[in-house]
Structures are given as C-alpha cells and as structure tokens.
C-alpha cells in the first residue's frame, strides 16, 4: 500500500505540474497538500498507535478512581449512620441502668437508716437493762452486808451473855444433851 501510495504521490506530483496553473492561481500546491495529508495520516496513525492508548488508559483509571472514591464516601456515610444508631442505643441503655442504680442506692440508704435506728434503739435498751442489773446487784450487796452484820452482832451478844451467865449446873445439862444427841 505504501508503494502504491508513494506511486500515487509520484504520479500526482507529475499531474500536479499540469494542473498547476489552476491551483497555483489560488495558491494551493497539490503536491504539498497531498504530502501534508499523508504526513497528517502518518501522524494520526502514530498517535493512535502510541499515544492514545496510554492516554485513554490514564483517563479510564482516573475515572475508576473517582468512582471508587465516590463509593467509599457513600459507604462511610452509611457507617456513620449505623454508628450513630448504636450510640443512641447505648446511651438509652446507660440511662436506664443509671436510673436503676439510683433507685437501688436510694433503697439501700433507706435500709441503712432503718438499721442504724434499730441499732441505736437496741443500744439504748441494752443500757437500760444494764442499769437495772447494776441496781439489782447493789440491792443484793446491801442485803448481804446487812445479813452478815446482823450475824456478827448476834454472835457477839451470845458470847457476852453466855460467857457471863452459864453456871456449872446449866453447863452439865448442855453437855448431857449434846452427848445424848451425838451419834
């Protein structure tokens, strides 16, 4: 084809000289024009073969990137929405638990108060009982002292009286009685 193209141009350049008058008058050189067209076609072919594919590839890649970025953006927006929903749920739960804790704390506080009141009441009762005990013990001790002192006095009195007034005759009677009863 190249050969035929070249032959054509060669013939053309010959023919051109014949028609040169017509076109020379309007300033168009057939030979140069054809050469330019051929050169242009060669350039086109070179461009199509070597330049356009990488260029197109690059453009495609860029388009893909943009597309994927767009997808990613959509996804992260979706995630953000889900996360927000989760957070809302957790917050709700926490609020519920907090309310529980407060209620429990209130109940325990009332309990503790009741227990403290009972304890102090028990302590007061215990103190009263102890006081009663002490009084009873004192009364008992007083009774004992009185009892003992009376016995001492009786013994002393007996010693004095008997020592003075027991005659030998009475004594003999006492001894006889004692010996009779002794076993």
């Amino acid at each position: 084809m190249k050969d035929s193209a070249l032959l054509f141009f060669a013939n053309a350049s010959e023919a051109a000289t014949k028609d040169s008058d017509m076109f020379a008058s309007i300033g168009i050189d057939w030979k140069v024009l054809l050469l330019n067209i051929v050169a242009f076609l060669i350039l086109l072919w070179l461009l199509k073969r070597f330049v356009y594919p990488p260029l197109v590839k690059m453009l495609d890649a860029r388009e893909k990137d943009i597309e994927s970025a767009r997808q990613a953006a959509m996804e992260s927006e979706k995630h953000a929405e889900t996360a927000k929903a989760e957070i809302d749920k957790l917050l709700k739960e926490a609020r519920g638990e907090a309310a529980d804790i407060v209620a429990t704390a209130k109940a325990e506080a009332t309990d503790a108060l009741e227990k403290a009141t009972e304890k102090s009441k028990a302590q007061a009762d215990h103190m009263v009982a102890q006081a009663h005990d002490t009084i009873e013990k004192e009364v008992l001790a007083a009774r004992k002292t009185l009892h003992n002192e009376t016995i001492d006095l009786v013994a002393l009195a007996t010693e004095k009286v008997v020592g003075a007034s027991l005659t030998a005759k009475l004594d003999t009677a006492v001894v006889v009685e004692a010996l009779k009863e002794a076993k």
Partner: protein, 511 residues
C-alpha cells in the same frame, strides 16, 4: 428501786439459827502434815477411799481435795484450789462421795470450770443432777456399731475420712496447723445443719484470750446455745487441768444417756498428759518414759472409751469424741501421740507444709484415716467420694512429675490437672462449713469432668458460682439432695440440671 424486805432478811437469819439446833456428831478427822505445790499430805482418815473428796477446814473456808495416794502412813490429796490458804495442822474431813459435777441442760450456753462453777459472770449453775466425774465405760453389750454420720461440713473430711456418731477421731499435728479450726467448724456445722448435736468443748490449759475469742465466735454463729465450754487456763492448778476432760465427759454423758447426741472436743490431750505428769511427780510416783507415770495410757483410754454409740435398748444416744494432740516437729511416733492413735478410731493428720502452701485445711490425705469409713457416710456423699479419693491418690503418685509439664503424655497430664483441680476444690475457708448437697455437687462437678476446662486457680470461684446458681434456680431439688439418702445421679432430672448448670458456669470461667 426494790426495797430491802426486812422479813426476807430475818428469814435468812432464822434459817441460820435453826441450823445450830442440829446436833453435832462424831466425825472422822485427819490433819494436814505437809502442803505444797498443790498437794496436801494428810495424816489419819484411814478409811478414805481412792478419789474420795476431802474437805480441808482453813481460815478462809473449806477447800476441797481428792485423795490420790493412799499410802501406809499418810494420804496424798491433790487440792482443787489454791494451796495458799491451806496450812499444816488444818483439820481434814471426809465428804463421803467421789468428785461430782453438775450435769443437765442448764449447762448449755455456759462457760464453766471443771467443778461446774461458772466462769462467764452469769448466775450459779443450778442443776437437778450431779454425776461422778469418773465413771466406767459402757460394756460391750450396751453398744451398737457406728452407723450415723456426724457431718463436719469440711469437704475433705466428710468425703474421705467420714466421722460417725459414737466414733473417736484424733486430730493431730504441729502447733498452728488448724487443728482447733477443724473442731470449731464441726461445732458450727451442727448448728447450721440443725442436727441437734450438743457440743462440749473442753479447753485444757488454753489461753483465756483464746477461749474468750472462741466464745465470741460461737455466739456470732449462733452455736453457743447448744454448746458447753469447760475451760481451764495454764494458771489453774494441775488438778483442774487433769479433771477437765473427765468433767466435760460427764456433762456429755448426760445427753448420751438421755437419747441425745453429744460431741466432745478435748483441746488438747498433750497438755492434759503434762498436767497429769506434774501431779504424779509431785505425788512421788515413779516416773517412766519421758517422765510420764506408768498409767498415762490408762489416763486417756478410760477417758475415750466413754465415747460410744449406745444400743437401741439403752436409748440409741451417742457421744462422739474429737481429741486433739499436738506433735513436735511432725513426730507422730512420740509417746503420747502413739498412745492416743492406738486408742482412737482413726486420725486426721495436719501437715505444716500443706498449711504454708496454702492448702487449708492442711489435711494430709495420705496419713489420715477413718476406721469407721463408709458406714458413717451419707449415700449422697459416698457415691461421689470414691472418684475423689482415686483422683487424689493418682495425683499424689504423679505429683513429682508435674514439674515436667511438656514432656508427658495426654493421659498423665489429664490426671495431674484433675488432681490439681481436686486439691483446689478441697481448700475451704474457716467458719464456712458446707452442707451435704453443696459437697456432693462440688465434688461431682470436678470428678465427672464438667469443670475440666476451668483452670485450677479459678475452681473455687466456679464452685461458688455453681452453688449460687443451683440454689437460686432449683432450691427444692437441692433441699431434697441435702437429705443425703439418695445416690448422686439417682434422679435423672436433677442430675441433668446440675450438669447443665455446671457446663454453663464452666464456660464463663474457661481459661
């Protein structure tokens, strides 16, 4: 404020004067020739009997003593009080009886000395009955073999060395190994499980502060109402330390002879033997091995033979004894320990090494034994304890290999891990006795492999979680198990419920 009633006062005086009208009689009289170190030597009273009570008239009132040495020329009488007021020349009379102590339910909840005098500041003990301190043991025909369990609440003991009512089980070990703790936990368990067993704790030469702490703890746990404490301190005369276990046994025998059940704890018999040695040496009796008198075996044998299970004709009551003996440096072949081991129906040996390794109660599974064994175990615990003993004995054999963890085959490793888990399971804190169902469930969970994925260090937590869960979810079934008369696994529904609960608990603790 109560008035002092004069009529009451005069009545007391009239009574005192009325006593004067009773005539005197001709009495046998002796005289103290020498006194010292708690022993009074008396001349006269040739008709005094062995162990008879003598009354010595001192300036400070009458002090009692009992005649232990009846010799040709004189009587050696051991004083039951301080010898401070007894002087040579004091008159001595015969009381006419052997030594007696008050016995009866009026003693429950009280702390007394071996003569029955209160030590807890409460009113004097007024019982209807006084029983002799020394009594013969029941004969052969009056006894029945031990067949009822006495639950101590301690898993290691109830599973492997069960104690029955009427048995004597010795608790032996060095100082500070937890011997008294076992006895106290047993007492607490009687109250927790409402067994109706009366506890009599005899403290022989124990520090008064320790006894006070014990009383506090028993009151806290609500055990004091069914406990009698007979207390002697190291500063009491040796005669009181000598009498304490016999007096305590007389108090326990009251319940045994009246169709009841009593538990005697003698803490401890080593101090008892030392007090008896002191008395014998002062009475100039010839010393034998380790300076103990020749009858030191009889001292303990006649005491422990009184613990028995009575036959049905005599009421079916029982008296169980847990004597405690302290060894020196783990030497159980010394004189007193070997004596008491040969008298009792088994021993629980406490090891210092185990105690310091953190295994508490520090019971040595290899050296402890119960000669009554399965006859005194509830069916429930018996059905699970076989695997326990087997697992532990296999673990003991392989224990030394536990250090070479990676070089062993799977089966051995499994046995070692099972043994470690069982050892962890048997650890128990003080004052927390476990009931029948708790013990059975815990042991079966580990020995049936339900806790195999739980690491040994988390076994106690898993056990607590399992028991809480079962008590919360299946209380009635657990109550039925607690009666103890079924085998574990007899009721399929309950068994599967326990399995499920154990599996779910085990998941939560997987390591």
């Amino acid at each position: 404020m109560a008035d002092i009633a004069v009529t009451e006062l005069s009545q007391g005086l009239r009574d005192a004067i009325a006593k004067l009208e009773t005539s005197e009689s001709l009495e046998k009289v002796g005289i103290v020739t020498r006194v010292g170190d708690g022993v009074a030597w008396v001349h006269g009273l040739s008709s005094a009997g062995y162990n008879e009570v003598l009354e010595i008239e001192t300036k400070n009132g009458i002090i009692e003593a009992f005649a232990l040495n009846l010799m040709e020329d004189e009587i050696g009488a051991v004083l039951l009080g301080s010898d401070q007021y007894v002087a040579a020349g004091d008159k001595v009379k015969l009381k006419g009886t052997v030594l007696t102590v008050p016995v009866g339910p009026e003693l429950l909840g009280r702390v007394v000395n071996p003569l029955g005098e209160p030590l807890d500041g409460g009113p004097a003990i007024a019982t209807k009955l006084y029983n002799p301190v020394e009594r013969d043991a029941i004969g052969v025909m009056g006894r029945k073999s031990v067949h009822e369990p006495l639950m101590t609440g301690i898993v290691a003991i109830d599973a492997m060395f069960p104690i029955g009512r009427g048995q004597r089980e010795l608790i032996i070990g060095d100082r500070q190994t937890g011997k008294t703790a076992i006895a106290v936990d047993t007492m607490i368990n009687q109250a927790r499980q409402k067994t109706g067993v009366v506890n009599v704790y005899v403290a022989i030469g124990q520090k008064l502060s320790k006894i006070a702490r014990l009383v506090e703890r028993l009151k806290q746990e609500g055990v004091m109402e069914q406990t009698i404490i007979v207390a002697t301190s190291p500063s009491d005369p040796a005669s009181l330390l000598y009498l304490a276990p016999y007096a305590g046994t007389a108090m326990g025998e009251y319940f045994r002879d009246n169709k009841g059940h009593a538990l005697m704890i003698y803490d401890d018999l080593s101090k008892h033997a030392v007090a008896y040695r002191q008395m014998s040496l002062l009475l100039r009796r010839p010393p034998g091995r380790e300076a103990f008198p020749g009858d030191v075996f009889y001292l303990h044998s006649r005491l422990l033979e009184r613990s028995a299970k009575l036959s049905d004709e005599l009421g079916g009551g029982s008296l169980t004894a847990l004597p405690i003996v302290e060894t020196q440096a783990g030497d159980i072949s010394a004189y007193i320990p070997t004596n008491v081991i040969s008298i009792t129906d088994g021993q629980i040996f406490m090891e210092t090494d185990l105690f310091y390794q953190g295994i508490r109660p520090a019971i040595s599974a290899g050296l402890s034994v119960s000669r009554v064994g399965g006859a005194a175990q509830t069916k429930m615990v018996k059905s699970v304890s076989g695997h326990l003993k087997l697992g532990l004995s296999q673990f003991r054999e392989l224990a030394s290999f536990a250090q070479f963890g990676s070089d062993l085959d799977e089966a051995t490793k499994g046995q070692i891990e099972r043994g470690q888990r069982l050892t962890e399971l048997l650890k128990q804190p003080q004052y927390q006795p476990m009931s029948v169902w708790e013990q059975a469930v815990s042991i079966s969970a580990v020995s049936d492999g339900l806790f195999d994925k739980v690491p040994a260090s988390k076994i106690k937590d898993a056990q607590a979680a399992l028991l809480t869960k079962l008590w919360a979810d299946r209380k009635e079934d657990m109550r039925t198990l607690n009666k103890g008369d079924q085998k574990m696994g007899q009721d399929e529904k309950v068994a599967s419920a326990i399995r499920k609960a154990a599996e779910s608990v085990a998941k939560g603790f997987e390591g």
